[in-house]
Symmetry: D2
């Protein structure tokens, strides 16, 4: 049944397959009167562009976004905003040999089991290309969050086992991230690039960790007990294909803490620490929201793998073609987009609570 919509008041519906005619998003519930142009969305979309970066796929997706509705004379009208991105450089023939073979680590097998058929071309709906629609929609969401003074920043904290040397998330600036890996630590980034080159040679791929920090978020957002801010963020981030883990604030390390360590004391000037990651009892505290997601290695590897075909017979598979070595850095803007979308929804939801 339907499952391609996220949000309650500010709602995003995405559609489209990797090698279909197009992909896109409908944003329903955007407030009226906000300035919006195709150029704004395009600029955000270009941040996930595959070309021009050393370890990214050479496929030349134009990824030109077109606004089809909901904007009149440069302003949002309050009606649904439809965004269209045509697929241009889609070489479907290259996937013909995958028509009846299930690639390990991909959704091929599970889509087939769910639907009884599948669009095998480039992963169809399960392709990472689907995230282009999320990023475009996130650009619209950022109109709402920025109007509320909120900044969302995602960056690479680990790749292929190499971690950044880090201080507080509070000290990271967007300018420091304008490098090929969206990584705030140049020294670590250099080693990550070396590791990427090495693994590319081996026909293998790498995973990593992305951190997202939200600044300027007002206290009071989140709707207990099921639509809590952390629950909605976790669901939204886990809906990204590559993500296998989500943590908020101190995350998994809280398991080893004492209560006297994990409780953040309050002072007249605010909280004295931020172990909670800006969310208490599912509601924002006014502190920075801090999240991390674990990204698995891209499953398309050129090394030979053991698998089966649609008839269940064993076979081996080596995936050539134009594939990234790591979802980082392309996934970074996707993480930002999902957080923007959740925050925009909750900012508008809170309007129905405030007297």
């Amino acid at each position: 049944m339907s499952g391609n919509t996220i949000g309650r008041v500010f709602r995003i519906t995405t559609w489209g397959e990797s090698h279909g005619a197009a992909l896109g998003a409908v944003i329903d519930g955007c407030p009226p009167g906000l300035s919006l142009s195709q150029g704004q969305i395009q600029a955000v979309l270009d941040r996930r562009k595959p070309g021009g970066q050393r370890f990214a796929s050479p496929r030349q997706e134009a990824d030109r976004v077109e606004i089809l509705s909901g904007v009149f004379e440069g302003k949002t009208t309050g009606t649904p905003i439809a965004l269209l991105i045509r697929n241009r450089d889609a070489d479907s023939g290259a996937y013909e040999h995958l028509r009846s073979v299930f690639r390990p680590g991909h959704g091929d097998y599970t889509y087939y089991r769910k639907y009884g058929l599948r669009d095998h071309r480039g992963g169809g709906r399960a392709s990472g290309r689907e995230t282009a629609a999320r990023v475009a929609a996130g650009a619209v969401a950022s109109l709402v969050t920025e109007a509320a003074g909120i900044q969302v920043l995602a960056y690479t904290v680990a790749l292929g086992g190499i971690c950044i040397s880090r201080g507080s998330p509070g000290r990271i600036r967007r300018e420091s991230l304008e490098n090929s890996l969206y990584c705030p630590d140049p020294e670590a980034a250099a080693r990550m690039l070396d590791r990427l080159a090495e693994v590319r040679q081996q026909g293998d791929t790498l995973g990593g960790i992305v951190e997202i920090v939200v600044r300027g978020c007002p206290a009071g957002l989140g709707e207990p007990v099921f639509d809590k801010m952390d629950a909605d963020l976790a669901g939204a981030l886990m809906s990204i294909g590559t993500v296998k883990g989500v943590e908020i604030g101190a995350g998994f390390s809280v398991a080893d803490m004492l209560g006297s360590e994990s409780n953040d004391p309050l002072s007249p000037g605010g909280f004295l620490s931020n172990t909670s990651g800006g969310i208490l009892a599912g509601i924002t505290s006014g502190e920075e929201i801090v999240m991390r997601v674990a990204c698995k290695p891209i499953p398309s590897i050129s090394r030979s793998q053991q698998t089966i075909d649609a008839e269940g017979h064993p076979t081996t598979l080596s995936i050539g073609g134009r594939h990234d070595v790591c979802v980082i850095p392309r996934i970074v803007p996707v993480c930002e987009a999902m957080v923007q979308i959740v925050l925009a929804d909750h900012l508008l939801r809170q309007k129905a609570v405030t007297p």
Copy 2:
């Protein structure tokens, strides 16, 4: 605005405060014709009972559940099932000194910032007591999952920094968990109990990690791209107050893997490994679903803490009273319940997909 409902086809709405008249749940969308009695729900509810266990709160909650609707002559009718649990042993006076003080690590401050007022008695809606309604609803959900041959098992894998010595989740049996910590490793459990006793002496509290495994789940459940199985599970588990992190399958360790390590090869007999944790591209693969959640220490500690009152003045606070040292083991049945609820919803959702 509203946020107390979870599920799309099989829907749970919970209500109630820690020291109000009662708490409960409405289960809407349960299929007709399933056998259900108060005793069945009570048995599940008793698994989170605080009394009778050494490190649990001595508060004697009767927690008697009453079925008010939706069951006729021992069978579900397809109409909403309303469950009621009266609050009996609620000593509200004990909370009077907390009326205008924000306890660190609790939702006191954020509820106040969200709603402008709050029920300070025992944490109100933010109390862990709310999870009793979830567990009762989960017992109804298990009618649906068990009819499909699914088993859900949660257990303690870490507490206060002590981890179990573990083999595969596949080897854990429910009988091995019938101890005071729902822990499959008796030797580790003994050390956990020692650690709990020690920290209780210090007026402090501990965190831990719970693992949940799902067996017998058919392939094909989950609705891309936002209502994926892993996204819904992550959202549901993160909606539990104590949870700060969720991971599926190999979880955060995928960040350090190569693609050739994280891909699970397929053979005619099934997958040869389960790094994915039973979910690929948001859809179940037929393998065991494996999840872990990180639980923070209970924030109510008797050690003195720095905080502020409702006027913003600094003060210190020492919380006495009847509190657990760790949410484990009480949170274990809650994790099971949330997973049961998500699975029941997706089992019924899949019926609209299957031709």
Copy 3:
């Protein structure tokens, strides 16, 4: 699947069968800080009380409402408000002969076809008693609408073919409706009462028409293109068991009009007529909202009727017992409640639109 919830931001879930333990409602999304007592809800609930009115059922339902959550020290807290009404005077034995016979005009046959089983006692979930929960929930909704200066008024305009002699809905005052039929025309009401007595003698029942007028509603409520104000009102009113038709403003008579007649001219002082019934393009215009619903005769008649039993064999049926002759006047507060619920939801929804 689930279908017992109405509203998006202000959400009502009802539950309960006619002869079960209780019935009730959960109101999720009510803003915090509003004064609410059991007495307030009880007073509204008493308006649909069966006893004490000549043509109403003599069944002595206590219908005492209890607030179980969401209210603290006399104020709503923003958390779910659970309402409970115990069933007391339920003579289930009187329905035993209906266990396997389908009453014409009732939901017996369709519930059986849908669910494969049914609670035959008093109509189960399909009973008019379910509307008690709606009325109680409507009393909570009226906190939101009254805070916005909105008044909702329902009254009888036809019963058993007798119509009121009427001027504009704008002239009707609540005081004029405080009679046994909620009818603003005393002369027509007297004839209606005679007709009711006559038909009761014949063992038959009557239908009628209820009009609902909303005053003080601000312009701008309603969410095109599917959640329009008129669409949501029509759906909510048609969900009342007795209703077979809904019309807004001039309603069915627009079919015979010219455009120059049905268009309401605008002047600096407002609209010069209200053919539209206060809604244009699905959005409120600031004029009075005017609706009418057609109510079918109560299907429980003591005259002999042709029907079948669960095995499909023909039989005849004569329904004795404690039944009303007409849903009017009891349905009048139910119509008010449904309109209150829809308006409360849209008032809060509009907060997410207004800049």
Copy 4:
């Protein structure tokens, strides 16, 4: 906030303005494996085409539908189906004089009050053109209903005060409706055409009544107590801009009936009458579903009308341009589409109920 989605399991989201770049729909939740081509949708869409019919607008909308996703090698895949219809023949300049004047009977005033701004070109989102997206989506819905053996038929029963001479809805065949008014009574149709010509001369417009009949619908569809079949149908039909009244079965005439008249007796061979219109207690009975909607006259008339401008100053307005005299016959396929959409949703919802 968001309001452009209808359905729970089978969900339609429409978007687009009359004079924007395009309009379209996303259909989420369509089962996989159904045959679907652009030609199929186009054929249905052509039924509401304005050109080629005497009393329809001469605007030459190409209205070519394009399927952008969700279909692979001629079969639905279970993923969202995005439909695109480009606006081509949009003469926006013709609307410049309406930029700051509110047309009586249109949504101009209410959109302005709701959103604070509006797209004045051709009514923007409130234009009847929006219904093209509904009709296209309805064509997809009909894949689901036809697979279940359901036929939906809408036709004109009144126009400009002229009613058809009618027997039972059960005798109407689609072949008899293939005329310029979708009217099953040729003699009445001739008089309707005369009336349309006459009123066109006067610069005025006409209303009418459309009846919709559903055949072959299984018993058991509809989800009490709020998502009843009649409630969802009423809401969906009332969401069509022109509709001011909806009735089911005997509709408003039930108000004058006795219970012994309105109850439909059951026999071993089925119901002996169909006063209920195929729905009892919100659930389909297996009989024909019969509905009627009242359509108001098109508000764009060339006769002079009194109105105000955006500053509130009085002015007069005479609307020239390319406008229909009556929404009939163009609205007929729209009514069919809305009913198809609701039925498809409920057919799939019922799958979660049936054991």
